[in-house]
Amino acid sequence: MRAMVYRGPYKVRVEEKPKPRIEHPNDAIIRVQLGAICGSDLHLYHGMMPDTRVGTTFGHEFIGVVDEVGPSVQSLKVGDRVMVPANIYCGSCFYCTRGLYSNCHNVNPNATAVGALYGYSHTTGGYDGGQAEFVRVPFADVGPTIIPEWMDDEDAVMLTDALSTGYFGAQLGDITEGDTVVVFGAGPVGLYAAKSAWFMGAGRVIVIDHLDYRLEKARTFAHAETYNFTEYDDIVVHLKRITDWFGADVAIDAVGAEADGNFLQHVTAAKLKLQGGSPIALNWAIDSVRKGATVSVMGAYGPIFSAVKFGDAMNKGLTLRMNQAPMKRQWPRLFEHIQAGHLKPSDIVTHRIPLEHIAEGYHIFSSKLDDCIKPLVVVGEH
């Protein structure tokens, strides 16, 4: 089969790989139709995630058709069109039975601190991802869901991670009616988090980024008030000024490990790998909210230490909330919101890249060329 493979930092190519096979009775093999490159895939692409092995296939956002099922699979049959949540989870461990699907303890030998994801290094379990013609999907009775007839494919693929993560991030903010919410990052997760904040009753939603084209999308898609941090000497002071010197009630970090805005932080993390991530957005979040506020962290960070300003967080009495999103737990409500017309997830898609051209797709997304916000990966004849 054709598959994207990692060849080392900043290098990927498409090559022939053996088609995946059933390795467990509850596995399914999915023929991928549509995938996506996630902002967090760029951490792998840049060599930031430990134990990212040459030859692995990335991609935790994908939909497709069931091609084969293992002997214990009950809920799917060959030919079903399914959307697959980014998390791999067993459905029966201590964490899964409490709804913490992203923290499953039965799927990742390589680490206990993180669950398992498709195509996201051996640190998250060593599974190949969906930027390929076929992918092995463990626990087929637990994760995949048949795509409703009414749902567009591009909306379905956005639900597999980005939309669910943004929506979950807004929930972790514990937003109450009238709150001022500031979202750092106008990428896909930030845009969805900003949009979701309104659903939860926010009185004001502010989005911060340095890319004007993304801020424009934040205004049109998420109805947000936007600021380009490069235009201000100190974005923290600016946020205090525009909130009557309180700061926001809730902040959402939707940037994560490769945040810009401080050369030293970025280079030590993203280039020299001396930090698990560049916590610029997180530190801005901590400093720009009011005392007693909540900071929701949706940005992905690597497993080693990062220079986070915990002293300020402690002294301000902040609540820091974070987790990888349990995607499927968000789906029933998000299905309702999409059907009701509250949002159209695919509105943020900017690029549709054939699998064979995925190396260019990674570079365009990574370097923010051609006003890229969300690139989909078109597999086969989809």
Partner: protein
């Protein structure tokens, strides 16, 4: 201002509903899908086992974190350990917990050894690594200038480092090889 008791009044519900599609549809915190975060009442997960069947381990022992009490029943098989990078990675897993920086730094070292080994091995194949096509850098020809010139981007100040990270080691190895060849030739004379 926070120097007195009250905050500025937000916009009214009516104003927000008129302006924002879906405003307030998840207003009740108790009616949000991830509230509370730990819940038993999620109508099941689809699992029809108390503990999953075990996936066969394969030809070599599956590496695992020493913070695990046992090998989890299901795991990925994307790229089994092999060669020098595999030895480094296995040492990281066998010796250091996830709480130790050495664990992660060794894994990153294994990644670099893996990448270099793969690059060198590819030179002996019909499809050697191609830094031009594999980095996707040709897209710079179409979009590079327009994406950067006249834009207030904070990332331009470090993007010059990327080509050095990608090409720098190749240049150094090339110069080293050239120096070695010249030294050999001088020795023969």
């Amino acid at each position: 201002m926070p120097y007195t008791a009250n905050k500025p009044e937000p916009a009214t519900r009516e104003e927000l509903r008129a302006r924002i599609p879906g405003w307030g549809v998840d207003l009740d915190p108790a009616d949000r899908p991830s509230v509370p975060r730990e819940r038993f009442d999620l109508n099941g997960t689809g699992a029809h086992w108390d503990f999953p069947d075990r996936q066969p381990e394969g030809d070599q022992p599956r590496e695992r974190s020493i913070e695990h009490g046992m090998l989890p029943p299901v795991f990925g098989t994307a790229a089994p350990l092999h060669g020098v990078s595999g030895a480094i990675r296995r040492f990281a897993y066998d010796r250091f917990s996830e709480g130790r920086a050495a664990h992660w730094l060794l894994l990153i070292a294994g990644d670099r050894v893996d990448a270099w080994g793969a690059h060198l091995r590819s030179l002996a194949t019909l499809r050697p690594d191609n830094p031009i096509t594999q980095t996707g850098v040709v897209s710079e020809l179409r979009h590079g200038l327009t994406a950067r010139v006249g834009r207030k981007r904070a990332d331009v100040n470090h993007q010059w480092i990327d080509p050095i990270l990608v090409a720098g080691p190749w240049v150094l190895v090339g110069l080293g090889a050239l120096a070695g060849v010249r030294a050999l030739l001088r020795g023969k004379r």
